[in-house]
Amino acid sequence: MQNNSADFKRQVTIKLADVRLQEALSHLQTRFVEGRSAVIGEIHDLQKTRNAAAEIRDRVLNDLEHWLLYFEQQATKRGAIVHWAETGADVNRIVAEIAVGHGVRSAVKSKSMVSEECGLNEALERAGVEVMETDLGEYILQIAHEAPSHIVAPVVHKNKEEISDLFAKTHRLPRKTGIAELCREAREILRPAFLNADMGISGANFLIAETGSTLIVTNEGNGRLVTTLPRVHVAITGIEKVVPTLEDASTLLRLLPRSATGQSITNYVSVLTGTKDKNDHEGPEHFHIILLDNGRSRLLGGEMQDMLRCIRCGACMNHCPVYQNIGGHAYGWVYPGPMGSILTPLLGGMENAPDLPNASTLCGACAVVCPVKIPLPDLLRKLREKQMQLGMKSRQETLLLRAWAWLALHPGIYGMTTGIAVRLMRLLGGEKKLLHSLPGARGWSGGRDFPAPQGMTFRELYRQGKRL
């Protein structure tokens, strides 16, 4: 997928003014934020479980070479073929080769964010393979020619009416208005595609080293259909997705659906190992697993390694006040919200996403809800420091920060300057006690007034011995 993260600021203005998007985003907050809080307490000892989950992910990341090789060995033993891909373009090439090699003309796909990194669908269509997305949300996006705006609820930015219009236009059937009817229509349109496809493409939530299995969590059943009916199955995932054992996967499964959609468990959890046995009536004859790096290995052993613990639940974006107001498209690439603000510059280049590390109030909600305890605000702060070192900040911002740093090192002058500034702002605030514009921060005051400071400064209060 093309990276448009550099256009972030302009997109934010557009998204904030988009009334339909704002309405759609309110659903996300009620269903996902309240949904999570309703079931997360079912976990007997949440903090202990989160610690255990983080430990499982760290165990693998600290010895990733070993765990990947073990997984490869076990998967190969059961008849799977493991491929390694440096970039998204390599994934596309490998999948196209597999398709050509097995004479594949049509493919059905369940949701995979890693395949979105690659822009796989376009590449396969260029290779002459007809690809159909089968996750309801991804299917809607495919026929609308749009990108996902959330990693779990990809079509959260669209309302029912837009989907009704789209279905009526694309399917040439009478326009349906009920959500259940729309789902029924998509089921009936997609059923023949499942039954006739030569190849199924899926992601993998986890790779289980112990058994060489891929594990996928789904609700709609399309993930099961895609991996059961076609004669070729291709699973695409990132190299960081390995977990050691079935027990470790279970610990993570207690957290993943609860954090993602507020479900105690997803409808289906499928553990898929190898190809079909000779007596089986179903299951793929060929099973290919593609492991994508795309910049991930560079993060190992460095100060950003914790980001690789991520299990893609989306809780950080659901709880992020920035995401809640602008939605996912503004972020410009596959991964939005706090995790996306970190992953996008790390995987796609700092220079291509200059605003994302700053698109956070650092309120800390993301770190509180992260099931694998990724210190997201700390990582965002580290990226901001890196931007400073790389000279990516504007001249104005650099000067302001330098001036502030100098002042902070000279407490006497700091007190005097801030004292004067406070009085000046109070004076300018007038009767309404509001400032309409702030010099040097007109972007901020363009959309809101700044309340003028009231009463004494902290230093004055402190000198008087007052405690708040």
Binding site: H44, T211, E247, R298
Partner: protein
């Protein structure tokens, strides 16, 4: 150098925390993480959780009663009296109950699919089904109604207990191991949960001893 060597080469430069023996020991022990407290009554807990997932539940003490019980359920819900069942379930008296259950994998047109269950997990009200020649996965997937016969003595407390049972009874996991937790659903449109996406619209559990 191919992609595999390049990727592994970059990864290998980072520190190794555990020795080969430590990793082998970890795999051999497959330690459990923090578990939910064991329920007082496995069956009651399982049933409570399964109902929450929108599954229907019936219970009988006689396995031979299952077909008649299913026939009544299908009639009450205006569902067809025919479908497919796992080949391993052909010995039940389907015909006597007025049911036409074909012992074959489901195709896209079958409306009712009857399966057994490898075990059930009380923690979440989940069924665990293993795919195989006698136990095709499509039976629980393609039809609009999935009926699962659950042996109450094979309800375990946690996912971890289920893995132990699997390890005891099989050398290695079969090709497909599926957790099933109620009818398929989607909330992609306006985050509104709708039952019946690409899989079954309804799941009926019949608790009956083996």
């Amino acid at each position: 150098m191919n992609a595999r060597d390049k990727i592994l080469g970059r990864i290998a430069r980072t520190a190794c925390a555990e020795s080969g023996e430590e990793i082998a020991a970890y795999l051999a022990q497959h330690p459990r993480g923090p578990l939910p407290p064991p329920p007082e009554n496995l069956l009651a807990h399982f049933a409570e959780r399964a109902l929450k997932l929108s599954s229907d539940i019936l219970e009988t003490s006689e396995r031979a009663e299952v077909p008649a019980m299913l026939a009544r359920y299908l009639q009450q819900n205006s569902l067809p009296m025919r479908g497919v069942c796992w080949p391993s379930l052909t010995n039940l008296p389907w015909r006597q109950a007025g049911l036409d259950m074909q012992p074959r994998p489901a195709n896209g047109h079958d409306l009712v699919g009857v399966t057994g269950t490898f075990c059930a997990i009380a923690e979440t009200g989940t069924l665990l089904l293993l795919g195989g020649e006698q136990t095709p996965a499509t039976t629980s997937l393609l039809p609009e109604t999935h009926v699962a016969i659950v042996d109450p003595t094979r309800i375990v407390a946690t996912m971890e207990d289920a893995w132990d049972l699997l390890r005891r009874e099989f050398k290695q996991p079969p090709r497909s191991v599926n957790f099933i937790s109620g009818p398929s659903r989607t909330a992609d449109i306006e985050q509104t949960v709708t039952l019946g996406a690409h899989g079954p619209y309804r799941v009926l559990l019949i608790l009956a001893p083996a």
